[in-house]
């Protein structure tokens, strides 16, 4: 169900991957018997391990995942099959292995082709987001985790700077930290998000889309870990940040924005300049992405590459760029 590529596909002996594979296999065949199907780790990251077995995908969630919150998020995916990929099983289950991680089971979907920018489904993702944002927020659903994830990225950058006192990527960190410090409190998870709250994905990027059934079914959003109530412009802010930083061509940004508006998406006004709504989230996601890039570069002892540098350069320009009017909702603490 994920479009992330494997980072350590050559680890068949990993007990977590073996246990996940067994659960995915049981989901496909109904019995833990051996079979000729191929199992593939799709993602092996600190925050998620994902294994595909034939038509099923098992995801082990991060160790700090709140079980009740995840259950509400998965239930939301069950209720919105036209927007979110519905799970194979209605509720997360604890993994039958010593890790004690929570596992969810999903149908396999075909991801976006990373090697073909022309095939990126900008209209589809915009339309799905507009539908998601127009859906009433299910009762009890926790806040969207976008700002919390940005704050976590900055924590990781601070830790990397402490661990790596020298390194070619260090100078890039100063403007990124300064841009972060200048953001309003809600965007850095120090205050609640301003309302009215919409149902948000919380971590939108092109790896969060699959076609189900593969290979040419309709596009659906995946990865509900950050789903919740919040500022819907956050979900538009990654493409907005990529466009602002010169990484996404204007025509592709226009296609995305136009499709979102055509589908009555509520995050930006129906016409006119969308940036009063997008500015703060796009700054936050630029800072978050730059922070993670510098963290990686510090660990590798390398300088930033040109794409990463474009993000750091945008952070350096932020202090002198005034926020557009209307960036703060009335009565919301800054």
């Amino acid at each position: 169900m994920t479009a992330d590529t494997a980072t350590s596909a050559d680890a068949p002996a990993d007990p977590l991957i073996s246990a996940l594979t067994a659960q995915a296999r049981t989901a496909v065949h109904g019995t833990p018997a051996t079979c000729p199907c191929v199992s593939t780790p799709l993602a092996v990251r600190p925050d998620a391990t994902v294994v595909r077995h034939a038509g099923a995908v098992a995801k082990a969630h991060a160790p700090d995942t709140d079980p009740a919150a995840l259950a509400l998020r998965v239930a939301t995916a069950t209720r919105l099959p036209d927007v979110l990929l519905p799970p194979l099983t209605p509720a997360p289950a604890p993994l039958r292995d010593p890790h004690g991680l929570l596992v969810t089971l999903w149908p396999y979907g075909a991801p976006v082709d990373r090697d073909d920018p022309d095939a990126a489904p900008w209209e589809a993702v915009a339309t799905l987001l507009a539908r998601l944002h127009r859906t009433p927020v299910p009762a009890g659903l926790p806040p969207m985790r976008g700002p919390a994830k940005a704050a976590r990225a900055l924590d990781r950058l601070h830790a990397a700077l402490r661990a790596t006192p020298h390194g070619p990527a260090r100078p890039a960190a100063r403007p990124v930290l300064a841009a972060w410090a200048a953001l309003p409190a809600w965007a850095t998870a120090r205050a609640p998000m301003p309302g009215p709250a919409a149902l948000c994905h919380g971590d939108l990027h092109l790896g969060q889309l699959v076609r189900h059934p593969a290979p040419d079914g309709p596009w659906r959003l995946i990865d509900v870990d950050d789903l919740g109530a919040g500022v819907p412009a956050w979900d538009l802010a990654r493409p907005a940040a990529w466009y602002a930083c010169g990484l996404l061509p204007p025509d592709e940004w226009t296609r995305f924005l136009t499709a979102y508006r055509s589908a009555d998406g509520p995050a930006v006004p129906a016409d006119g300049d969308p940036w009063p709504a997008l500015d703060v989230p796009a700054r936050a996601l630029t800072v978050q992405t730059a922070a993670l890039a510098i963290t990686k570069a510090l660990a590798a002892g390398r300088p930033l590459d040109e794409v990463e540098q474009a993000l750091a350069d945008a952070c350096a320009r932020m202090p002198s760029a005034p926020a557009p009017p209307g960036r703060r909702a009335p009565g919301i603490p800054d």
């Binding site: 479009a3 920018p117 940004w253 002198s320």
Partner: protein
């Protein structure tokens, strides 16, 4: 003549009246005394009378979509396709798929 580096035979080419020896093995190039200066002179002549480059084709005839003041100078203000062609593949697979 033999290549001083890999000892493969070198072939002589004439480029605008300048004799250039190129190795058939390692593709290295040998210039005689004064030939580098002759090439530099030719290059200067070549570039001087060239007409100024035509204005870049307007890829986006309509006004570029609005972008924030902190955006890249090219971030939508000018429809510079060359820039995106350069960055596009790298940023697409590298940035647009991760958290």
């Amino acid at each position: 003549m033999q290549c001083p580096k890999c000892h493969a035979p070198m072939h002589t080419y004439n480029r605008n009246g300048v004799q250039i020896e190129q190795c058939s093995g390692c593709r290295g190039i040998f210039l005689d005394y004064g030939e580098l200066e002759a090439l530099t002179r030719l290059e200067a002549q070549w570039s001087q009378p060239a007409p100024p480059p035509p204005p870049a084709p307007q890829a986006y005839p309509q006004a570029a979509p609005p972008a924030p003041a902190w955006g890249a100078p090219h971030g939508g203000h000018h429809g510079d396709h060359g820039h995106y062609g350069h960055h596009r593949h790298k940023s697409f697979g590298h940035m647009l798929f991760s958290s």
